[in-house]
Subunit: 460 residues, 2 copies
């Protein structure tokens, strides 16, 4: 339990109205999007970098574990409080410190909502490419911790690719500045990218200098229906072997399509549709039709049932209906979702989906797969009833089998959700012992007492 | 001096024909492109990852410092042997281990020539974007160590952006594998990007998995002449504030143009040309003319003297004559080049060039500036006579003043050459003490006895 002395120190540093240890607040901050719950001892709401320095120094002095938290919208328990820890919520650090369109950069505090960054950028003809599904409410600090991405990653890359520099506070309360303000720079080690994706285990990121790009003038969408997963994924391979890089290349398998049928969102799909691709192109208005024509040509092939294109906003929204209704529809299948975020080389995706199908069948499980096929990134959702012990046992067997297959196919455990609590037991199957030892050794340099987000990322 | 026992151990591990300690070999490997010379005790030529592991273990056991070396084409003494060290040349590790066009990746040993990677990629309609000026002879291992770039960085980014994964050997002879084979991945810390740009001080990179992109179908070039540096750099700012991102945006100042006049390469420039931009666009053949038109519009403005475009290979080659003749011409000005590689935010570039002009004048120095203006990356060359003590003194004063100005403008010491021996005394002006301490602490985890490329990157 947090000592009175520590609590008083936090209150003195942040102000009494920024430190909560009441039951209601602790309950609210007990979980992220994973089903687990652990109540923290208290929740802190710093409002500036300096306050984060102050609280980190108090935590260091009193040996208090800290659980950093953005919006709590993560899928892997990254913001799940460690027992006895104090949550550091970045919600109140949402200032845009600088917007410099001439140099295509923005400097934001860690609590700024990701979509807000994009909105500001667009006001000057620029945009912020990473577009996680939660972008209307997730915070950039969480995106940086997990190296978040989204559909546009196939063309534009992930959060890591847009970080020029960071301001952060280590586990011993040291302030550090990483990177620079320019698009090139090789002075010292690249600590920015070491912090990105480290899940809050190395330092508390307080401010980020982000790179922006010119906003594409136009976008157009193709909804492409196939009679089988393999037909759709063969088309993905063809798309990734020609020159036009789409700005989205999303896949839904037949179980995902079945899931949305009750909502009516599949009503206008051609009969026999067993897999669906959403393909987008963006760029100059004059050039997008050329890109779409090239993509249509690459997509055409065995098993194609129909292709619809949309160039106007309303048409595009309509085409996305099936995909957008998926998240809600999946939740109707079973109360609990065991959510994977695996990646394999694009050419192996069809084999992986076959294997998942086979595994789901063998273990009598409902498994819905969809994801960012252009990156080989598949969200595999095992839909289960937590009270059904037998089903849960089968789900865990299937889950392990799928992860092993991913690694055997040359893949990785996580594309954009991170490791958190949920996947850490598999990490040493992907990373060899000396490399993992080095990561642990690096962790100790930033956080000698292991106070930053304990119980995450590393296997026990 | 290297002990007989150590020498015998190296010979036993690599074979006698891969270990040289004769005077001639040691003399050849005593320098890179910087004027300094230090003869190593021996030169090793491993032919595989396993041999690098073996030699690193021998070096660890005998506490022998290692100086890794690609082609020795670096500009900052990165491959300059530390006194008493043994050079590890990667020249004999030039196997392409895998080329997988379907997944847009290539796996190469560290000694493969960078241009060779691009050549192989293009055989399958792909390309490797980073294009350092030395790409016909530099080795990918050196590019990875320094995070090399080139003109295309303005559109396509730097070496760091194309690394999916690495195989490497630490200073204690541990083998590590970083990253993955896919374009997304967030399992564990991003050690790949920690190694990229670390100048060989953390680990010996033996193999790299690199990302490739679809090759642009067409390219077109603009050579744009202005009556002043400021007019040219204002045009750069305008280009970087519209939507078409050029694949090259190179600048030459008036002293650079003066330097090429004796060669005849400036003969067809409009009279009064005092600054020159080379601007390129690439993409689909149908789309490049649209890009060029947009770029021409952005480039037009005060001080423009003339703009020539080229769409065919011969025209393009001709337009690049002035720029390509620069490197050789500059060497005629004075025997020694003090070569900077600074970066400032693009909007500050005109101020920096003004300051350099003023400083050159005040110190009576010949300073030639050119570079990758789209990234704000300027190569500043102070041309001096090393025997002229007074001039050398003035050059060092000017050099210091320029670097301080770069930092004051929000810039960084190096964009693509790295730090090596030549810039390390300035590093602590850019990186604050706690951040630098962390870098040193990280270094110790990889290399506990400080055997990997000692005397580089960190200030004393």
């Amino acid at each position: 339990m947090l000592s009175d002395r520590a609590l008083a120190a936090f209150r003195s540093a942040l102000g009494a109205d920024r430190v909560f240890d009441d039951a209601a607040t602790r309950a609210v901050y007990a979980c992220d999007e994973t089903p687990r719950r652990v109540e923290p001892d208290a929740v802190l709401f710093p409002t500036s970098h300096d306050e984060v320095v102050a609280l980190a120094r108090i935590a260091f002095e009193h040996r208090i574990a800290l659980t950093p938290r953005g919006a709590g919208s993560g899928n892997v328990g990254g913001a799940l409080p460690a027992p006895g820890s104090v949550v550091v919520s970045f919600e109140c650090m949402r200032r845009v410190l600088e917007f410099d369109p001439a140099n295509r950069l923005i400097v934001v505090e860690a609590g700024v909502v990701t979509g807000e960054i994009d909105r500001i950028a667009r006001s000057a003809g620029l945009f912020y490419p990473p577009d996680p599904g939660s972008s209307t409410y997730c915070r950039i600090g969480g995106n940086l911790a997990m190296n978040a991405a989204g559909p546009r990653a196939v063309k534009y890359g992930v959060t890591r690719d847009y970080v020029l520099g960071l301001r952060a506070v280590t586990g011993s309360g040291q302030e550090i500045r990483t990177g620079c303000r320019t698009t090139k720079g090789v002075t010292g080690y690249d600590l920015s990218r070491l912090l990105v994706g480290s899940g809050g285990t190395l330092a508390l990121i307080t401010e980020a200098t982000l790179k922006l790009l010119p906003a594409p003038e136009a976008v157009a969408t193709l909804r492409v229906c196939f009679n089988s997963n393999r037909a759709a994924l063969d088309a993905v391979s063809r798309v990734m072997q020609q020159a036009v890089v789409p700005c989205a290349l999303e896949f839904m398998d037949h179980r995902a399509i079945d899931a949305i049928r009750p909502t009516g969102a599949a009503d206008d799909l051609p009969p026999g549709t067993r897999a669906l691709l959403m393909v987008e192109a963006d760029g100059a208005a004059e050039d997008v039709p050329r890109q779409i024509a090239a993509l249509e040509q690459a997509l055409a092939g065995d098993g194609l049932l129909g292709m619809k294109s949309g160039f106007e906003r309303d048409e595009i929204t309509l085409l996305w209906t099936a995909r957008k209704s998926l998240s809600h529809a999946v939740k109707q299948i079973a109360p609990l979702k065991i959510n994977e975020d695996v990646v394999v080389p694009v050419s192996q995706l069809a084999d992986l989906v076959d294997f998942i199908d086979h595994t789901a069948h063998a273990h009598r499980l409902a498994v819905v797969s969809f994801g960012h096929a252009g990156n080989g990134n598949l969200h595999v959702n095992l839909m289960v009833h937590p009270d059904d012990a037998d089903e849960m046992e089968r789900a865990h067997l299937a889950h392990d089998a799928i992860l092993l297959r991913v690694l055997a196919l040359g893949g990785t455990l996580s594309g954009e959700h991170g490791i958190g609590t949920e996947k850490r037991r598999f990490v040493d199957r992907e990373i060899d012992p000396p490399t993992l030892d080095l990561m642990r050794a690096i962790k100790l340099q930033f956080d000698p007492h292991g106070l930053l987000n304990p119980g995450k990322l590393f296997p026990d």
